[in-house]
């Protein structure tokens, strides 16, 4: 019983830490500024350029805790709905979902090297040179 209580306490300590993570939306230095509504449209495939500059959104792989937090905080939907949305959109010929990366490091590398790229990290990621921070939540 004690072990169970300890496990629950431990889980309680972990879960708030994850859900409360600050999600920073970052971009390549050449990516133009976006407002939050535009960011949502970029991830839903409705906006592909801003002021003539191509915008390339990227995502972390399905199941990543940070991805779930990004979906909730910036796209106002859970990951299941996001996947369902893109499954339909993909198979009605309206585009492809954002490219996915397995790790934050891979994503950062891509965003840093790709003009127009937009991604996200949590604020524990200290190395953000060569990147622009677009939004920070909460």
């Amino acid at each position: 019983m004690r072990a169970l209580v300890a496990l629950l306490i431990a889980l309680g300590a972990i879960v708030p830490a994850v859900t409360a993570a600050s999600v920073l939306v970052i971009a390549n230095l050449d990516t133009p500024p976006l407002d939050e509504d535009t960011l949502q449209k970029v991830y839903l495939g409705k906006v592909v350029e801003v002021d003539g500059h191509p915008i390339i959104p990227v995502n972390l792989a399905k199941g990543n805790v940070l991805r779930n937090a990004f979906m909730q905080q910036y796209l106002a939907r859970d990951d299941e709905k996001f996947v369902a949305y893109w499954t339909v959109r993909r198979y009605i010929g309206q585009g492809t979902p954002p490219r996915e990366f397995r790790t934050i490091e891979e994503q950062l590398e891509f965003v840093r090297a790709t003009p127009g790229a937009v991604g996200y990290v949590d604020d524990s990621v200290g190395i953000r040179q060569g990147l622009r921070t677009l939004f920070r939540k909460p």
Binding site: K46, V47, V48, E49, P54, I55, I56, E80, K81, V83, A84, T87, V88, R90, Y91, I92, G93, Q94, G95, T96, R99, G116
Partner: protein
């Protein structure tokens, strides 16, 4: 097979030409359905469903190769393995889509190649079972056209307003098919080779809770083989007292093409856990009097309960008055005895044979089913459907009139 190779080469050439623009990013995705359906009758419904049960009515596997060159340019090729469209036996793999997509700006999407326009709400994703809850989209409406894929071009222009998006889709293209003629009393299954030119405009308004759609489409059918279209089936009077004389129905005139105007309206309303979907389709044919003039509609009410989504659907398909009257007249008029002998030597069943070439529909179905969603890309569905054939239905193989039957379906759909 030759056709598939030719299509593949065409796609490769298309992709190679785009490859020159930029290094592409490739993605291979896919979807599939393993579906089993059986009815409680010996005759076949939707080509395959009968008392013996079948996997062929709903099962398929699709693979999609996407190449994204930059946010504006992309290319897509989709191959689907399923029951064949040009015969009833075996399986086939066919290229459904092979198009290049170009978004010159946010509000425009242009596509060139083999593509599928948004005729009905689920036309484009009809084969991707995981994207809707029904075990089978209502055949009464979704068989408006025997084919929805065209080789041509399409555009989508989008306007964004507060809380809603308005889209105008336009397309034009051509396709070649083998049209399956009604298969009722005579055992020779026939496919009629046709070339179809298609063009249409579809206006949609979508918000978080409501999708409204209206479309007008124009199909021009041309016979590809040696046999042209007849203009009409009409009676000629043999001037003698019955049963020696009377009306003898004959094919008259030749139509080098048949124009079909199709009107579509649809609404999809989501309110919390509820989803109400309804669509209407009408085919208008003025060039010939033996089909496929019809009206059809369905209404589905579904409610999400956790991972379950139970639903009920009612669907109706009815041919135009003139077509049904012709079908009745052919079956109700005996062949005059004078026509059985020289010089015509017609069989006594001649009018029945002609009637079987009238593409007539009079059926309605009620579906009660549920889907269970394991995830956004994995879904199991079960359904009980009760279909009533009135005068006749070209979707049923057999001499079936004023009869109800049941179809039981279970399927698993996925995407990856």
């Amino acid at each position: 097979m030759k056709s598939l190779v030719a299509q593949s080469l065409l796609c490769a050439a298309l992709l190679a030409s785009i490859h020159a623009i930029a290094a592409p990013e490739f993605a291979i995705t896919g979807y599939g359905t393993l579906g089993y359906a059986r009815s409680d009758e010996d005759f076949r419904y939707l080509r395959y469903i009968d008392r013996d049960g079948t996997l062929k009515a709903d099962s398929l596997l699709g693979l999609q190769l996407e190449a994204r060159f930059d946010p504006k340019w992309s290319a897509t090729v989709q191959v689907v393995a399923s029951a064949p469209r040009t015969r009833d036996s075996g399986y086939e793999a066919a290229i459904r889509w092979a198009f290049v997509g170009f978004r010159p700006e946010n509000d425009w999407l242009l596509r060139f190649g083999r593509l599928r326009p948004p005729v009905l709400i689920n036309t484009q994703n009809a084969e991707v079972g995981v994207t809707y809850d029904q075990a089978r989209l209502p055949a009464e409406v979704y068989t408006l056209s025997p084919v929805y894929d065209v080789d041509g071009a399409a555009f989508t222009k989008t306007w964004t307003t507060a809380g809603a998006e308005i889209a105008l889709d336009g397309y034009w293209g051509t396709t070649k098919i083998n049209y399956r003629l009604p298969f009722q009393r005579f055992v020779d299954q026939q496919y009629f080779p046709e070339k179809i030119d298609l063009a249409g405009l579809v206006l949609s308004r979508s918000s978080e809770t409501l999708l409204l759609r209206a479309g007008i489409h124009r199909a021009t059918l041309m016979a590809r083989g040696d046999v042209p279209f007849s203009q009409a089936i009409e009676p000629v009077s043999i001037p003698a007292p019955p049963p020696f004389g009377g009306d003898l129905y004959v094919r008259s005139g030749v139509a080098d093409r048949i124009h079909v105007t199709v009107l579509t309206f649809g609404a999809d309303w989501r309110l919390q856990d509820w989803r109400i979907t309804g669509e209407y389709g009408q085919r208008i044919v003025n060039d010939v009097n033996y089909g496929v003039d019809s009206r059809s509609a369905y209404l589905t009410a579904a409610r999400s309960v956790g991972k379950w989504t139970p639903y009920v659907t009612y669907a109706r398909l009815l041919s135009g008055n003139e077509v049904r009257a012709l079908y009745r007249a052919l079956n109700g008029t005996p062949v005059p005895l004078a026509a059985l002998g020289p010089p015509l030597f017609l069989p006594a069943s001649y009018h029945s044979i002609l009637a079987d070439h009238v593409i007539a529909y009079d059926q309605h179905s009620t579906m009660l089913g549920a889907s269970y969603s394991f995830s956004a890309t994995s879904k199991v569905k079960i359904e009980w459907m009760r279909t009533r054939v009135g005068l006749v239905s070209a979707l049923v193989d057999g001499d079936v009139h004023d009869k109800s039957f049941n179809v039981y379906s279970v399927s698993y759909s996925f995407a990856f």
